[in-house]
Symmetry: C2
Subunit: 530 residues, 2 copies
């Protein structure tokens, strides 16, 4: 009805205007989470810089991800290091090993949970130690106080930034998807377990009775994990520096704005709060031209198009039998395949398949000849696939990847394979389904249209609200204080109990009154007849 192109142009123009740098810059203190989370945070800091704000990033002594970048942010380098690379690599190897064994058996699920929790325990411990180091470094704290930052921007996957913001008495903006130990929504918005699936439950917003039982069960486990991670690490710090009755979760819940790294093309519809701003896909951007070689290869696919495969950078190589099977499956297809693969060259590789150490993922996903994205299901890749409208064949490895891909499968835009059982035949069958069953592509392109049709680009929205918090020194009018209530008060259990007591008291009085009258009337009669 309405010219879609016209609207897109308007939105782009409006976004362009909004992304003009402000004349007067604010001062932003960034407490990032090291590792892959920095990839997201960097997009926000780069945009803040381009809008004229000065950025200070708190970084550990050694970091592969967070670099000293004097041209666009200053760093406050701590004495402490983050977890060792060796330890992290061992963790990844164990996780992949467990996945290859099976991820569906109870034993594997429990063992995986145990490994993750142990790792989380260590990471939170390191963060807590880092925070203590900062708080006890009088000179550092004084310099942070004197710098008069306007806002703290942090990823609350770990608690460091939340604690520092409160210690400095500064407004707090979260760049968030996960908190201890699940979806950030659960700390701030009502999340009825009857239609809001808990992270990791692999459930949709429409559940059977036993799925709802599973959801409640996993939620209770998550509460237990929360206690076991917050308790030993953050509680001592919070009680020492903020008072004996203060709780870490309260400090988190007092955050001004939650920039949530998803939206409702990704997530199922669920309750929200006025201070939750959805910025899913904020890192997505139009594709650029491919290099000549790559463009020639893509064009050579003709009407069949190309398949892109990458399993991210965390896991280097899959076992040889799996890569041999995948290569053999690819070889049977008329499509061209571009595969990010760093290990041994599979012997079954077809002439149609190009192996690359690194591939320009966004530019390939945005190419009109791209037909299927074979991916591990990391949030960034899934968001980019939605943005460009490319259906997914998922091979989840660990973390939230199962959850992400499950959502895509439920929305009819992805097929998911289990790494423990995948072989040449099942892979070939799955990739053919995503290629040739039209619904995958059609659904994904609809999702893409919905995702792109927003009043404002997600990155501009993120900027608007960070700057809003700077302008107004917080966003108190959007934030409920209901987290200060006890569980019994929040759910009105005391009120229901009171009303029921009143009702029962009234019933009792009525009963006694009737009984008394009965006695007066019939008791007397009885006396007379006796």
């Amino acid at each position: 009805i309405i010219s879609h192109i016209h609207m897109n142009r308007l939105v782009t123009l409006a976004a362009l205007l909004c992304s003009l740098p402000s004349t007067d810059g604010g001062k932003v203190l960034v407490f990032p989470v090291d590792g892959s989370h920095w990839v997201n945070m960097r997009v926000l800091t780069e945009e803040l810089h381009s809008r004229g704000h000065s950025i200070t990033v708190i970084k550990p002594a050694q970091s592969l991800y967070i670099k000293e970048m004097p041209h666009y942010y200053q760093t406050v380098t701590l004495k402490a290091a983050t977890a060792s690379d060796d330890g992290f690599n061992r963790f990844l190897t164990t996780m992949l090993q467990l996945r290859l064994e099976s991820h569906t058996s109870w034993r594997a699920v429990l063992r995986t949970g145990e490994v993750i929790l142990k790792a989380m325990y260590e990471w939170h411990k390191i963060v807590a130690e880092t925070v203590k180091e900062i708080f006890e470094d009088a000179k550092l704290m004084q310099s942070l106080q004197e710098a008069k930052y306007d806002v703290v921007l942090t990823d609350p996957c770990f608690g460091g930034g939340v604690l520092l913001a409160h210690r400095l008495g500064l407004p707090l903006v979260l760049n968030v998807r996960w908190i201890i130990p699940g979806d950030g929504h659960f700390a701030v918005a009502p999340s009825p377990l009857s239609y809001v699936p808990v992270a990791g439950a692999l459930l949709t917003d429409k559940m059977t009775f036993f799925q709802r039982v599973k959801n409640v069960f996993i939620f209770l486990m998550a509460l237990h994990h929360q206690a076991s991670l917050v308790g030993p690490h953050y509680t001592p710090i919070v009680q020492h520096y903020f008072g004996p009755n203060v709780d870490y979760m309260e400090l988190l819940q007092a955050s001004d704005i939650w920039l949530m790294r998803n939206d409702f093309t990704f997530e199922f519809p669920r309750p929200s709060m006025p201070n939750i701003i959805y910025i899913g896909g904020f890192q997505c951007k139009p594709s650029k031209r491919l290099s000549k070689d790559l463009e020639d290869f893509v064009q050579s696919s003709g009407e069949h198009g190309v398949i892109i495969m990458t399993l991210g950078t965390l896991v280097g190589n899959l076992p040889e039998d799996i890569t041999e099977g995948i290569a053999a499956a690819f070889a049977q297809l008329p499509q061209k395949v571009i595969w990010r693969h760093t290990g041994k060259r599979p012997s079954t590789l077809g002439n149609n398949t190009l192996l690359l150490d690194w591939l320009p993922q966004n530019d390939l996903l945005g190419h009109p000849k791209t037909r299927v994205f074979v991916a591990h299901g990391g949030t960034n890749g899934v968001q980019e696939a939605i943005y460009h409208g490319v259906p997914i064949l998922g091979l989840p490895l660990m973390f939230d990847q199962d959850d992400n891909l499950f959502r895509m499968e439920a929305k009819g835009v992805a097929k998911v394979l289990d790494l423990a059982t995948v072989n040449k035949d099942s892979f070939l069958e799955a990739v053919k389904a995503v290629l040739y069953e039209r619904s995958y592509r059609e659904n994904m392109q609809m999702l893409s249209r919905l995702h792109r049709d927003q009043p404002m680009k997600p990155l501009d929205r993120a900027m608007f609200w960070i700057e809003f918090v700077m302008r107004h020194k917080g966003a108190a009018h959007l934030r409920t204080d209901s987290y200060k209530m006890s569980w019994i008060q929040y759910h009105s259990i005391d009120v229901v109990a009171f009303l029921l007591s009143c009702f029962m008291l009234m019933a009792l009085i009525c009963f006694l009154a009737v009984k008394m009258l009965w006695r007066k009337v019939f008791g007397r009669k009885k006396g007379k007849t006796d």
Copy 2:
């Protein structure tokens, strides 16, 4: 920090771009609520028209408000009339009479509730009859079907538009604040009664135990009223045309977008849903120049400034003793006063007070010399006062005016007087407080800054989402289907009962096992010792 002026300009430019008319117009079927509700709906239809959409308005046979306006919308005129003007005027007189007696006594509260419910019962009956008339007019229904509208826009204060949209199978956008019988949020978003005050309860988001009891109690009464209004009027129609198991509230809850006529400068922070779009203040616009006479009068106030008083158009005149008192109070002030007053000229009127039959409310509120707005607390007036940052002295008359003004009082931007007890002295004291206690003005100007500092103007946001629904034939991805669950399922009561039963069964098995062991061990021993 950030140049506020600069940001405002950006927002205005972006909004300007977004408000360019679309090239291809859609077809919008509007089912308005007659009376003052049309004032709001007209703003939306005018803007839709200016963006190139064609508008069809369904109107009753006679209507003072909804006129035939061939230059910008077509009308479908029904045979039935709305409620008679006489009846409505009698209702208003009764309501004012009750208010003048007292609105705080239990008797007055009950009597007022009775009068309102009786009137609501009649109005809903008329709407239900109108809907039946439309549904049974085969020719009309056919022409509505054949017109192939893209969306139905309605105010669900009454159920007509909701029913018609479902009957025509069209996407549905609500322009909503009130539904049967309270705040529209309660039908679509989780609304924990521990911090979400029910309409009419005169409570904030921070309640004591007994305030929470009151809130739950009023909520239960509202549920009862809902049943007594939906039951007799809408249920027979719904069951006849949509099936025996369909419920009116379900049809309402299946709406695509809820354009909510408030925001969080007006409302307390509370849970929301992805398909709730806040458009509070969408009717507000910058003030225009006053006429020469009025501007001269305003300027003559000098440093003291002016007071604006208007109690809306519904109630003509207050009793003479009250107007005499108010006039005498005004006469003692150094300010100039502009008072919309149509009745007998008070004998106590001072030279500083100008009586007008009608006043340009928005232009006066936006004038830099305006100090206080004496108002009845209708939503439009309160929104305009927020927009222009003018503190309020409230004299609530009926409907939601108490609630609106209570919110403003809780936010420290208004003082509220009771019409039953107001006199010269109390009025003078109150108007002086709002004039000279700086917090009223400062708080209201802060609220105004917060209200104006949005990524997009509320009216543009409303347009975006109406057009979004037209482009995508609905907004299913933003709408939860959780309303289809039963109350027991929604609140997971069945799951909790199941888990408790499992737990108790396990406890029982443990107990029996221990008991058996005990007997085996000690029972034998006993036997031996005997």
